[in-house]
Subunit: 361 residues, 2 copies
């Protein structure tokens, strides 16, 4: 592994080395089929057996009940920003949105094309550095759904509770899925772009309460219909077959790590290492003050000055810690420590930060 | 290569072995970056240099003029079935469709959600075994565009001419792109799912006359807007980074084979081998009678009886010729011989067919 760097990218992001090695070893001939998985007809027996196994593994990993269906859809989370209102808003409908970051905001603006939107909660007043409490959520009457983003990648915040509302819950879990157990039955729709904790970019996993399908607006593009996707088992058109296979390899690796319970332990330990150091540091500080809102996936922080931010990011890259610059809209730094980032990577980063602090006293 | 089979799948389909080997060798560490391409931030310098190189190679391979933009969009061709009318139909607009197979028909049905549709030509009367002549095309007044599918994968037909019409030409080239030179300036929009001649499934390449962008209907999903895709250089959201990289490897291989001119020579030779045999065989016959309509990419044929069709497909698979069954809607056989199928593969198939014929006299 000496030729590999620690990649703190917010997404696409690190994959387990063993997963990449398995993919490479099977690239020209998968399990004696004489073909790469990339070359297989999606209707072939050999591919369908991969597909079914991946679905089954994901169902097991997240304890998805039979009331819910797992869909693999192209287009990432952005595709879902449109698909959610197109499928759930209804004619002349409305929806509630909690705005705790950029992606929730983009999703809400997309929903405005298809119905009325109510901002049920927002953290914009403090530049999204906190998560609104349950008591601050103001839902509207007749909302077709309540939408929120579980983990805000840019700002480094995370909802530590599931909002209690009467409308079906729709949640963007792109940057936290598979990092801990999820109470799936509480949700109408969970979706997640796969490029953070699941697979290479190019797909979203959707977990939908089947009772919610079938209400799409009449101009919904065929590929965006949850009903069609459910009926065709995600194969109305050719799915991103190789991405699904890669997700399968990641799920196999996840199982060897104790599943989502194992991941929860690991992420808690990794985040604690980093936040504890940040809270003690005289040079660096966490951007999110409240422990009740700090993301365990994306740790945002700053040095004492913007110049030191830049010097740190540059110096870190030179030492094999890549992609630590914060999102261009907020600056500072961000260490994305998804499932595939080993604890040793975080420990090495903390040591490097400490050394940097000593040099820049 | 002895452990590899000849894969005649209609898509996803064969990729050049050298491309797969290159992908495998770079899987855990791309060009000293310490990362897989799968793990790279799409905004990183290292990834953007891959992205720009792929776009440049494709522009060069197809001689795309500066009036046109190349887009990488998720969702395959089916996504484009919706995107085309959403972007080009206009309010209360209409469009002309040539129906020469299943996918043109699916595309037309999707367009009906967004405007009026006129069937300008159809081969349905003879079960899509021919291509209508220019003189048979009846365009309508005021059509926003004229739509056709260049190669009909299921039926094994191919347009050998570019229709001459006054509306902007929109063409689905999913199963023939990169198999020969294309007169790109004649087209308003060319699109192609990549899973046949370009890359693993999960993306479409769109080549659009920039003058046509910006007329989308107001409820067009953000990810389906050609205007947004052009403005954001296909990165409004995270693109399918690895699929784009694989396309780059295929384009490098294509260049070593003489580019699209080399591919045209090769495909003509391969198709001739197969059609010549079919025309002489007493057991097998081509499904498409006219040489002016026969696809060089998907060769459809039948044995004397359905029982022999089945026996042939089974026997062929046992001898390393995979995926020769025809589409489930038409039966018979289909040999898809895209760019990556070597001439030796077609020669071996013809020899096997000949042996089968001798055994079943």
């Amino acid at each position: 592994m000496s030729d590999r760097i620690y990649n703190f990218s917010a997404g696409p992001s690190m994959l387990p080395l063993s997963v990449l090695e398995a993919a490479a070893s099977e690239m020209t001939n998968f399990a004696g089929s004489g073909m790469s998985v990339m070359e297989m007809s999606h209707r072939s027996k050999v591919y369908l057996s991969i597909f079914e196994e991946v679905k089954e593994s994901l169902k097991k990993a997240l304890s998805v009940p039979d009331t819910h269906e797992i869909l693999f859809m192209q287009g990432g989370a952005t595709f879902q920003f449109s698909a959610v209102p197109l499928n759930l808003m209804g004619e002349d409908g409305s929806a509630d949105y909690a705005i705790t970051g950029n992606f929730a905001s983009v999703a809400m603006n997309e929903a405005k094309k298809y119905g009325a939107v109510n901002i049920a909660a927002s953290s914009e007043d403090k530049n999204h550095t906190y998560i609104p409490a349950q008591s601050e959520i103001k839902t509207s009457n007749g909302a077709s759904y309540f939408y929120y983003c579980a983990n805000n990648t840019i700002y480094g915040t995370e909802w530590k509770y599931i909002p209690s509302v009467s409308a079906p819950l729709v949640c963007d879990m792109s940057s936290s899925i598979l990092s801990k157990p999820v109470d799936v039955p509480k949700f109408g729709v969970i979706f997640a772009g796969v490029q953070k904790n699941m697979a290479p970019a190019g797909m979203a996993v959707v977990i939908i309460d089947k009772a919610l399908a079938g209400q799409e607006l009449k101009y919904t593009p065929r590929l965006m219909s949850y009903k069609v996707a459910i009926e065709k088992d995600s194969m109305d058109n050719t799915p991103p077959c190789y991405t699904i296979y890669m997700l399968g390899l990641v799920l196999k690796w996840l199982e060897t790590q104790g599943g989502v319970a194992g991941m929860e332990k690991l992420k808690t330990a990794k985040a604690k290492l980093l936040y504890d150091y940040l809270d003690e540091s005289a040079l660096f500080s966490a951007c999110v003050p409240g422990a009740d809102a700090r993301s365990d996936m994306n740790v945002t922080f700053r040095a004492a000055t913007e110049e030191l931010d830049k010097a740190f990011v540059k110096d870190a890259a030179a030492h094999g810690f890549e992609n630590l610059a914060g999102h261009r809209s907020v600056g500072g730094m961000r260490a994305s420590i998804y499932n595939a980032m080993p604890e040793a990577g975080v420990a090495a980063l903390v040591k490097f930060m400490n050394d940097f602090e000593l040099k820049n006293k």
